[in-house]
C-alpha cells in the first residue's frame, strides 16, 4: 500500500507539473463564487474535466458511479499536488463538495447512476437553491412552493445568491411542500431539480467587485419530475442541514481539489517587504511588524486546528464544534488579512482592478471585497456564533 501510494504521488506530481495551465490572458475568478464570464467558465470547466479524466478528482468515490475507486489518501495526495503547482480552482464546487457527497450518502441508486459522473467531469454544473430574497439567515422559513401533481412537482417562487445559476444544469432545491405542517421546518422538502425546463428564469446579480457569479432565480409554474425528491417529503430541513455540514467541512466525503484561492500570509509578507513609508520599509514600523506576526501565528495555528477538526476522536463529543469554529476563524481571518494588505499599500490601496498603477493588478482589493462572501455565505459569522453557542457551549437557544 505504502509503495503504491508513493507511486501515485510521483505520478500525480508529474502530471500536475506537466498539465497545470499558466495564467490565461484574462482574469480568473478567485473562488467558484465569482465565475462571471463564459471565458472563465469554459476555461475552468475544461480544467476540472482534465483533472478528473486523469484520475485526480473523485479518486475516492466509488468506481461504479464514475469515481476512481481508490482511497481518501490518494485524493489527498492529488489535491496536495494540485496546490503545489497552484492549479486553477475546481469549477463545480456545489457538485463536488456538497451535492455529490450527499447523493452518495443518502441518494437512491438511480440518483447515483444519473448524477455522480457528470458532477466529476463538470459536464453537469450544480447550483444551490436555499436562500430566498425574504429568507436568508432564517432559512427554515423558505417559502418557494412545490405542489405535487402526479409524477411532477409544480414550482412557484424565487431563490437568490444562486452561484452558477446561469450555468447550472441542476439545482439542489429547498422547497415548501406542506403549508399545514406543525412547524416551519417540517413543511420543507429537498428536491434535485433540473434547471433546463421551461418556467425558470435566471437574472445575473452584479457584485460590489464589479464581477458576476450569482443570480436570482425565478420559478413560474415550473414542472419538474418528482423522482428528484431526496428522502421523504418533510425531511427537507434535515437534509439541508446535512448539506450545510458538507459545505462547512463538518462532514467528509468531498471529491477533492479546492474551490477557493486562500490568502497565504507569506504573500502578505512579500507585499509588506516591498512597501515603503517615508523612504523606509514599513517593516521598520513596530505596529506593522506586530500585526504581520499576529497573522503568521494565526495562520499556522489555524492550519493545525483544521487538521485537528478532521481527527475523529477529537470531534466525537461534539462533531460540529471544531469544524464550525474553523469556518468562522478562517473566513474572518481572510477578511482581516486582505484588509491589512490594502492598508500596507497606503494611498495606492485605493487603486482598483484595471488601474495600470494598481499593485498586483488590484488583486488585494478584489480579494478583500470577495472575502465577505465567505463570512456571509454558508451561514453568516453571526449565525455560526449562534450555532457554536447553542451546540458547542450548550447555551440556551436565543428567542
Amino acid at each position: 500500500m505504502e509503495a503504491e501510494l508513493r507511486e501515485f504521488e510521483r505520478d500525480a506530481d508529474a502530471w500536475f507539473a506537466e498539465n497545470t495551465p499558466g495564467e490565461p490572458d484574462f482574469m480568473l475568478p478567485l473562488t467558484f463564487m465569482e465565475v462571471g464570464t463564459d471565458q472563465q467558465f469554459e476555461f475552468l470547466r475544461e480544467w476540472q474535466n482534465k483533472v478528473y479524466s486523469a484520475g485526480y478528482l473523485g479518486a475516492a468515490w466509488p468506481k461504479e458511479y464514475g469515481g476512481g475507486g481508490l482511497t481518501q489518501k490518494h485524493q489527498d495526495i492529488a489535491t496536495r499536488a494540485m496546490k503545489k503547482y497552484r492549479g486553477p480552482i475546481m469549477l463545480n464546487a456545489i457538485g463536488i463538495n456538497w451535492t455529490g457527497p450527499l447523493i452518495l450518502d443518502i441518494g437512491s441508486e438511480a440518483h447515483k447512476q444519473k448524477y455522480i459522473k457528470g458532477i466529476l467531469s463538470a459536464e453537469d454544473i450544480w447550483c444551490q437553491g436555499f436562500s430566498e430574497p425574504e429568507n436568508g439567515s432564517d432559512l427554515g422559513n423558505a417559502q418557494l412552493r412545490a405542489v405535487r401533481d402526479g409524477d411532477e412537482y409544480v414550482l412557484n417562487g424565487s431563490k437568490i445568491w444562486t452561484t452558477h445559476g446561469h450555468y447550472a444544469k441542476y439545482m439542489i432545491l429547498l422547497a415548501r411542500t406542506d403549508l399545514d405542517a406543525p412547524s416551519k421546518y417540517a413543511g420543507l422538502s429537498f428536491i434535485l431539480t433540473p434547471m433546463t425546463v421551461p418556467g425558470i428564469e435566471t437574472v445575473k446579480i452584479k457584485k460590489l467587485t464589479g464581477e458576476h457569479g450569482f443570480t436570482q432565480t425565478f420559478f413560474t409554474d415550473t414542472r419538474i419530475p418528482a423522482d428528484g425528491l431526496m428522502g421523504r417529503e418533510g425531511e427537507g430541513w434535515k437534509i439541508a442541514m446535512q448539506t450545510l455540514e458538507y459545505e462547512r467541512s463538518a462532514r467528509g466525503g468531498q471529491a477533492g481539489g479546492y474551490v477557493l484561492t486562500e490568502v497565504d500570509p507569506l504573500e502578505i509578507l512579500q507585499l509588506a517587504s516591498k512597501a515603503k513609508r517615508d523612504g523606509q520599509s514599513v517593516l521598520a514600523d513596530p505596529v506593522v511588524r506586530d500585526k504581520l506576526m499576529d497573522f503568521v501565528i494565526d495562520a499556522q495555528a489555524m492550519a493545525l486546528n483544521g487538521k485537528r477538526a478532521r481527527i475523529s476522536p477529537l470531534v466525537r463529543d461534539c462533531p460540529q464544534a471544531l469544524p464550525l469554529m474553523s469556518k468562522l476563524t478562517h473566513t474572518e481571518f481572510a477578511l482581516r488579512i486582505n484588509e491589512f494588505a490594502i492598508s500596507l499599500m497606503g494611498t495606492k490601496g485605493g487603486y482598483y482592478v484595471d488601474e495600470p498603477n494598481a499593485i498586483d493588478e488590484g488583486y488585494w482589493h478584489r480579494s478583500y471585497l470577495n472575502a465577505f462572501s465567505a463570512t456571509i455565505g454558508g451561514g453568516t459569522s453571526q449565525i455560526q456564533r449562534n450555532i457554536i453557542g447553542e451546540h458547542a457551549l450548550s447555551l440556551p437557544k436565543t428567542r
Partner: protein, 379 residues
Amino acid sequence: MKLLLTEDEVMLQDAAAGFFRDKAPVTELRKLRDTEDATGFSRGLWQDMAEMGFSGILIPEEHGGNDMGYRAMGLVAEEMGKNLSASPFLSTAILAATAIRKGGSAEQQAEWLPKIAGGSTIMALALDEGGKHNPAKTATTATPSGNGFRLNGAKAMVVDGHVADKFIVAARTSGAVGDPDGLSLFLVDPKSKGVSTERTIMADSRNAARIVLDDVEVDGDALIGETGKGGEILDLVLNAGRAALSAELLGSGSQAFENTVEYIKERKQFGRIIGEFQALQHRASHLYSEIEVCRSAVLAALSALDMGLPDAGTYVSMAKAKLGNVARLASVEGIQMHGGVGMTDEFDVGLFAKRIRVAQEMFGDTNYHLEQVAQSKKF
C-alpha cells in the same frame, strides 16, 4: 507532529487533572493567600508532586527522573493552570532542571538533578532585573575573583526566590548591557555573604522575590557551562519555561472561560437566562474559537521542543504570543460577563485574571514574542 494525545499522555492528563483538583484546587490558593503563608506553596503538595513524578518530568532516569518530556510537562502545567495550583514546578522542575541538565557538568547533574526530582531542593532562576523581560539587558556582573567570581547586581521577579535553596543567577562576564552574548550562569547559595532577598507582593498571590547581590563570592565550580556561554543555555531554559507558561495560560484561560459560560447559563435578568442573549453568546463563541486555536499553538510548541526542531523557539514564541492575548481576553471578558460578582473576591474569575496578568508578562509578553517571531522570519 502528533495532534492527538497518545494513550500514555491521556493517562497522565487524567492523573494530573484528578491530582490537582483534589490536592491543589483554587481554594488552596485562597488559603495560602488568606493565611499569609510564609512559603507561598504547600511543601506537602510538592512532595506529593514528586511522588507523582511531576518534578522529574524533564530529568533523565539515571538522575531519578522519568524524562517524559515537554508534551507531558505541558499537560501538567495546563492542569495546574486550571486549578491555579501554586508549586515550585516552574522554578525548579522546569527552569532549574533544564539549566543543569543542558548546561551543567556531570558532577552538577549528579548532585542536583536527583534532589530536584525527589522534591528535596527548591531552586530559583534569577534573570530579570526590572523593566521588560530581555535577557540581553542583563546588567548584573560577574568578575573573576580568586579561583571563582564576584557577583554584583539586582534581580527582580525571581520566582520562588525567597524559599529557594539555590539560585541560578545570570550575570554578565563580558560585553555591554544590551549585548545578547557574554552571559554566564552561576549556582549561588542564598545564605552567602552579600545576598539579600525580599519577597514581593504579587497580584496573583504567588511567589516572586527581589534579590540584591553585593560582592557575592562564588567558587569556580559554581559556574554552569562555560564562561560567556550562558545565553545558549538560557535559550533552552526559557523555551521550556515559556512553553510551560503557555500551557498554564491555556489551562487558566480555558477555566476562566468555562466558569464564565457556566455562570451565564444560570444568571437570570429580565426574566431570562442571560446566556440567551446573543451579545453574550457571540462573545462566548468568539472566545471558544480563539481558545481552540490556542490549543493547537501550544501543542505545536511542546511537540517542536520534544522533536528538537531547530526552530522550536519560534513555535514557543508563537504560542506565548497567542496565549498572552487570548488568556488575557478570556479573563477580562470573564470579569465583564460575570457582571457585578465578577468584581468580588468571592468569585474565582478575578483570581484567574490576576494569575493570567502575571503569567502573560513572565519571560516575555505578546509584543516581545511577536518580535522574536519577526526576527526568526528575518524581518
